[in-house]
């Protein structure tokens, strides 16, 4: 097995080394259109404007994974039901507000610096995981419909904005340059909440019910 893998590594290494040293990639094309995108961070511009369907479909992938996990039914109890202990409890109380703040900062910074909806959503998801580890109970009545609405809100907002562009005579997912910044921010805020919730619910591993 090892010789085969080494041969593959050598082949791949040779392929990479034979690529041209200097390449004019797409950064020029992105920089030319950056003004119209509504944000100043090129990666965010690509993610939410130029290649918006990437982001839309990856949020669908997240939801599909959640549906897949839910469709497997109840998981066998793998966690031993023990008290989470004072250290984790106090740490969670301190960390969850900080994590929410960090998520909000990352979301806002995404317009002009590295950051954005997925990074912020991942931080929110981490806060959710901590919260599940310590108490992990949803308020009665929140588990079914409100949770599902929050989970699909990101995709729904994105689709609504995309469809609105169609209505005003533009292409799907093409924003009017004047409002692009605020539209991207709106999509990102709602998507962040949806992504964070999806990640935390994935960690839960089962479909939450009111009884839990």
């Amino acid at each position: 097995m090892l010789p085969l893998i080494l041969a593959l590594a050598a082949g791949l290494g040779y392929t990479v080394l034979s690529l041209p040293e200097q390449v004019q990639g797409l950064q020029g094309a992105v920089a030319d259109q950056l003004e119209k995108s509504g944000v100043t961070n090129p990666v965010t511009a690509v993610l939410l404007n130029f290649r918006g369907y990437d982001t839309l479909l990856e949020m669908v992938v997240l939801l599909l994974a959640l549906l897949g996990v839910w469709s497997l039914g109840a998981q066998p109890e793998v966690r031993t039901e023990s008290d989470s202990g004072p250290v984790l409890d106090i740490l969670t109380r301190l960390l969850v507000p900080v994590l929410v703040l960090v998520a909000a900062y990352l979301l806002w910074a995404g317009a002009h610096a590295p950051g954005g909806a997925f990074q912020a959503g991942a931080v929110l998801g981490a806060a959710g995981v901590l919260w599940i580890l310590t108490c992990g109970r949803l308020q009665h009545g929140l588990a079914r419909l409100p949770l599902r609405i929050a989970l699909v809100a990101g995709v729904a907002t994105f689709m609504a904005v995309a469809a609105l562009a169609l209505q005003t005579g533009r292409q799907l997912l093409e924003y009017p340059p004047a409002q692009a910044g605020s539209l991207i921010l709106l999509i990102e805020v709602i998507a962040t909440v949806s992504i964070g919730l999806t990640l935390a619910t994935l960690f839960l591993g089962v479909e939450p019910t009111d009884k839990e």
């Binding site: 080394l17 390449v23 982001t55």
Partner: protein
């Protein structure tokens, strides 16, 4: 050899390391981790090769693709871990059954 190529070669190394672990290990958790290491290698190659423009800023399109890829990898990993727990519950072992043993 410039720095981007060095990183790209490290990415290829990670990919092959993960592929080897994916093949030789029986435990499903190790296989899932191996696939994640392979994915990290691919991401490293993409991010590194985006930096080939000399002094100009890196190409943002591969960077955006890597973010997309990370999200897909996380989703797939979560689903795979759930499936692994199901296999463990059904067979008592977190391994795929042998071809002959069933």
């Amino acid at each position: 050899m410039s720095i981007p190529f060095l990183y790209a070669l490290v990415g290829i190394g990670l990919f092959c390391l993960g592929l080897h672990a994916l093949i030789v290990h029986d435990h499903l958790l190790r296989k899932i981790l191996a696939i994640n290491v392979m994915g990290s290698g691919v991401f490293l190659v993409l991010v590194a090769l985006a930096r080939r423009g000399g002094d100009s800023p890196p190409d943002p399109v591969p960077h955006a693709m890597v973010i997309t890829g990370i999200v897909v990898a996380v989703s797939a990993t979560a689903l795979a871990l759930s499936l692994m727990l199901k296999v463990k519950a059904a067979t008592g072992r977190a391994e795929l059954p042998d071809k002959d043993g069933g």
